[in-house]
């Protein structure tokens, strides 16, 4: 193939990719704006005290899997204990921690071992002991062997929980006091149909936290953290809310996700065969929806802040996290490839799966190659500087436009960012392609290579900072 012909092919691939991505995002954001507005109105007009005081309100079991979470576990468990919800239990699963996690749990909860008839419905590893809190009667702690990742720990919790709705969260997530109330109010609008529900959560880095309560919502200006804030917004407000409107939501995030227990039971619990468990269980739930299509099941995503989780604050941790995410994306896309363009899966097969394949799986190659080829061509003198800049700007502006549109959708209904922070994020969106994008692309490439080699370890990143308490 001649050089001009080669460039012609590349041009159509890259140009088509960015154009499709832009149109796709624009479409989802327009749908999402309507859906978010609806949820916003519902939120400000709903009668939460009615749900809180009703004896018919559905109780919830909260499962908190924890492995080496000494930095966060106390605040996390206290944030759960402080929940404004009429009836719930919390089950903390200590997944073989080697640090002070268990010691802190014991100090906070005053634990005492109890004999409990434990039935192994799901694969969970070896359970060493089950303890009840002497301070908080609705809190139980399971101590178990490690090895089956978060999935095994959640399964251990599932084996013991009592209630029909199960909230699965991370041990480094601080819940908002009204999170369960808000989410369950939505579930109660149609409890027979809602089988899974997630909601938005942001990054807690630099917040001031004491005893599980957030005292100051200070959004971090560390560019790495700010970029992650923007990515969360792009992900939740750029597409997940709209996917939810089509009942095609591919990921009820592991940081906060609520499921109907009977459905989890019928699906066989969480699978430890994947690097992470959250995307896979959501895809499996879509399979379940299709198998029970007469029941009209739904998986929803809400735009309410339900909690705050810690994001990596250095490049090494970020790469480790994104490499893991990329592996699970690839694993899930590969395992559920039959959903692609499959009309039985409706919008999940026609709208979400193509995005997953083109953007989440293939995107890293297309973006990296397009930027590399254009840059290399300019360096070796095939392209003149004007053409190079035109192509580079195309990539930069399409990414920035997606960011600004998502940010607009977010800021319209969420009043947490001040003007200064919005302007800062706008500035960051313009320079993302110069450095942050490359870190993420590198991590994604690494994740893809590891996926190809069958690497499935859950690498927990090392915490760098201590929590601010004042």
């Amino acid at each position: 193939m001649t050089t001009p012909a080669f460039f012609n092919v590349l041009f159509y691939i890259f140009f088509g990719y960015f154009l499709i991505l832009l149109v796709y995002y624009a479409f989802l954001i327009i749908v999402g704006l309507g859906e978010e507005r609806r949820r916003w109105w519902q939120n400000i007009t709903d009668d939460y005290p009615l749900v809180y005081f009703s004896s018919f309100t559905l109780p919830v079991s909260v499962i908190i899997p924890a492995r080496n979470e000494e930095e966060w576990i106390r605040n996390t468990i206290l944030s759960v204990i402080n929940l404004n919800y009429p009836q719930f239990e919390a089950v903390v699963v200590d997944d073989g921690s080697t640090d002070r996690t268990f010691e802190i749990l014991n100090e906070t909860l005053d634990l005492k071992p109890v004999t409990v008839h434990y039935v192994k419905h799901f694969k969970d590893g070896q359970v060493y002991s089950i303890m009840k809190s002497m301070k908080y009667p609705n809190v139980t702690v399971i101590s178990k062997s490690p090895g089956l990742k978060k999935a095994g720990a959640v399964n251990a919790g599932l084996n013991i929980v009592r209630y029909k709705y199960v909230c699965v969260m991370d041990a480094d997530t601080i819940l908002e006091p009204d999170s369960l109330l808000k989410v369950m109010t939505q579930v109660e609008r149609d409890p027979e149909k809602v089988i899974g529900i997630g909601s938005y959560f942001g990054l807690v880095n630099d917040f001031v936290i004491k005893d599980g309560r957030i005292l100051d919502y200070y959004f971090s200006y560390n560019p790495l953290v700010a970029y992650q804030n923007m990515e969360y917004i792009r992900s939740f407000f750029g597409n997940r809310i709209a996917w939810s409107a089509f009942n095609a939501m591919p990921n009820v995030a592991g940081g906060f996700g609520l499921w109907r227990k009977d459905v989890l039971y019928e699906m066989g619990g969480y699978s430890a065969d994947f690097t992470c468990e959250d995307i896979e269980i959501t895809f499996r739930a879509h399979d379940y929806i299709v198998k029970n299509k007469d029941k009209g099941y739904k998986i929803l995503m809400l735009p309410y802040y339900v909690g705050w989780t810690e994001g990596p604050s250095n490049i090494k941790s970020l790469v480790s996290q994104r490499d893991r995410w990329q592996r699970v994306v690839n694993e899930t896309a590969w395992s559920y490839k039959y959903m692609l363009f499959n009309p039985r899966y409706k919008w999940m097969g026609l709208l979400t799966m193509p995005y997953f394949l083109i953007y989440e799986v293939m995107g890293v190659f297309i973006e990296t190659i397009s930027i590399s080829v254009v840059t290399a061509s300019w360096i070796i003198g095939i392209l003149d500087v004007r053409v190079f800049l035109a192509y580079f700007l195309l990539m930069l502006l399409s990414q920035s436009l997606i960011s600004v549109m998502s940010l607009f959708a977010f800021v319209r209904d969420q009043k947490v960012f001040r003007l200064k922070y919005v302007v800062y994020l706008l500035f960051l969106s313009l320079i993302e392609l110069f450095w942050y994008r490359w870190i993420i692309s590198f991590a994604k490439l690494l994740g893809t290579i590891k996926f190809l080699f069958g690497y499935k370890t859950y690498d927990q990143y090392v915490r760098e900072k201590r929590i601010r308490t004042s």
Binding site: T3, P4, F7, N8, F11, F15, L22, R37, R38, W41, I44, T45, D47, L50, V51, S54, S55, F56, T57, L58, K112, V114, T115, V116, H117, V119, K132, M134, E188, R189, D190, E192, S377, G381, I382, L383, D384, R386, V387, A390, Y391, L393, L394, L397, S398, S400, L401, V404, M405, L407, F408, V411, R412, K415, F417, R418, L419, V422, V423, L426
Partner: protein, 354 residues
């Protein structure tokens, strides 16, 4: 040098840049305007609060008071009644009640009714519906009943909530009828019904013989809220209902009503085919009769369902002294599961004592 499609790409760049700038500027302006609007709205609410206090202290329902109420929008009225902007201005119960009276006197219900017919958008209509509910006036019920069956899920949902604000027997009959017709909203309707202040049972009892077992289930659950004991017999009857869900709910309701005549019926239910009926029967026997029902409850320790066994364990914990002779017998026996459950009950009781 290759110049592939550069002109086209530059054109697209300009379009993207223009779009980016439009969104960025709109975003910044929106945030500025949003902050300004919040402050303005807070000032407005503060003014309403001042006016309310002044008018209330004057002690007269003057023309000025009526005019003041007449000027309020449904949104402002709802702001006052729900305190949804409590972080800026908080209204106490006296202020809310006073405004409610002024609002109705000023003829606002008629105005809200005509507003519902205007093109004010779905959420505008919902604000009107909620405002109608907060007037707590019986005359609002006609309007709300018609919006209750709207095809729009949200209008129907918020109409249910609004009807729940009006404590009248008619609200009960409307909501019970709604519960029957809209399966999706049954839990919400029941939650509202249990908050209504008139004794709802005379209305609810009409649905205890409904053809739909789910309606009967909700009826029996709501009967448990009865302040009068006249309906206990009906609940007792429902422990023999063909539907296991109804039987289970009847057992749970008998526990709530603490019906002392129900022992025989509940003991019969310990042999029910459905495990959840047996579980609720154990719970009810433990709650109503405590130590006097331990011998019957302990027979369920070898039940086939673990959940029934767990409720037996809980009954043992709640009545440990009465349960001890039975526990000793079990511990001397050979049933390993029963022994384990008894040990758990002793462990948890010891832990509670500590």
């Amino acid at each position: 040098m290759i110049n592939y499609h550069a002109d086209l790409v530059i054109k697209v760049d300009f379009i993207l840049l223009a779009a980016y700038l439009i969104f960025a500027i709109a975003l910044v302006l929106y945030v500025i305007r949003r902050d300004y609007s919040s402050k303005r709205h807070a000032r407005k609410l503060l003014k309403i609060k001042e006016n309310l206090t002044r008018l209330f202290l004057s002690g007269k329902r003057t023309n000025a008071a009526t005019k003041f109420a007449a000027r309020l929008t449904p949104e402002e009225f709802v702001d006052v009644q729900t305190n949804r902007r409590k972080y800026t201005v908080f209204f106490n119960e006296l202020e809310q009640q006073f405004l409610k009276e002024l609002f109705v006197t000023a003829g606002k219900i008629k105005e809200l009714r005509s507003l519902l017919k205007k093109p004010i958008g779905k959420w505008g209509k919902i604000e009107v519906i909620i405002a109608l509910g907060y007037t707590q006036a019986d005359e609002a019920l006609d309007i709300l009943e018609s919006s209750l069956y709207s095809k729009d899920e949200d209008i129907s949902y918020f109409s249910t909530l609004a009807i729940g604000q009006i404590s009248a027997m008619r609200s009960v009959s409307i909501l019970m009828e709604f519960l029957k017709k809209k399966p999706m909203m049954r839990r919400k309707a029941a939650s509202i019904l249990e908050t209504l202040s008139p004794d709802i049972t005379s209305e609810v009892i009409k649905f205890a013989d409904d053809k739909d077992p789910e309606v009967r289930t909700w009826a029996v659950r709501l009967l448990a809220k009865s302040v009068s004991k006249d309906y206990v017999k009906k609940v007792e009857e429902l422990t023999k209902d063909p539907s296991p869900e109804v039987r289970a709910s009847a057992c749970a309701s008998l526990a709530k009503l603490e019906d002392k005549d129900s022992k025989e019926m509940l003991v019969k239910r310990l042999k029910d085919d459905a495990w959840f009926v047996r579980m609720h029967a154990v719970k009810a026997l433990s709650k109503i009769f405590g130590k006097d029902a331990m011998s019957e409850i302990m027979n369920s320790l070898n039940d086939g369902s673990l959940l029934v066994i767990n409720s037996v364990r809980q009954a043992m914990i709640d009545n440990i002294e009465a349960a001890m002779p039975y526990i000793k017998k079990v511990l001397e026996g050979t049933d390993e599961l029963a022994k384990k459950i008894c040990k758990e009950a002793i462990d948890i009781t010891d832990m509670k004592k500590e």
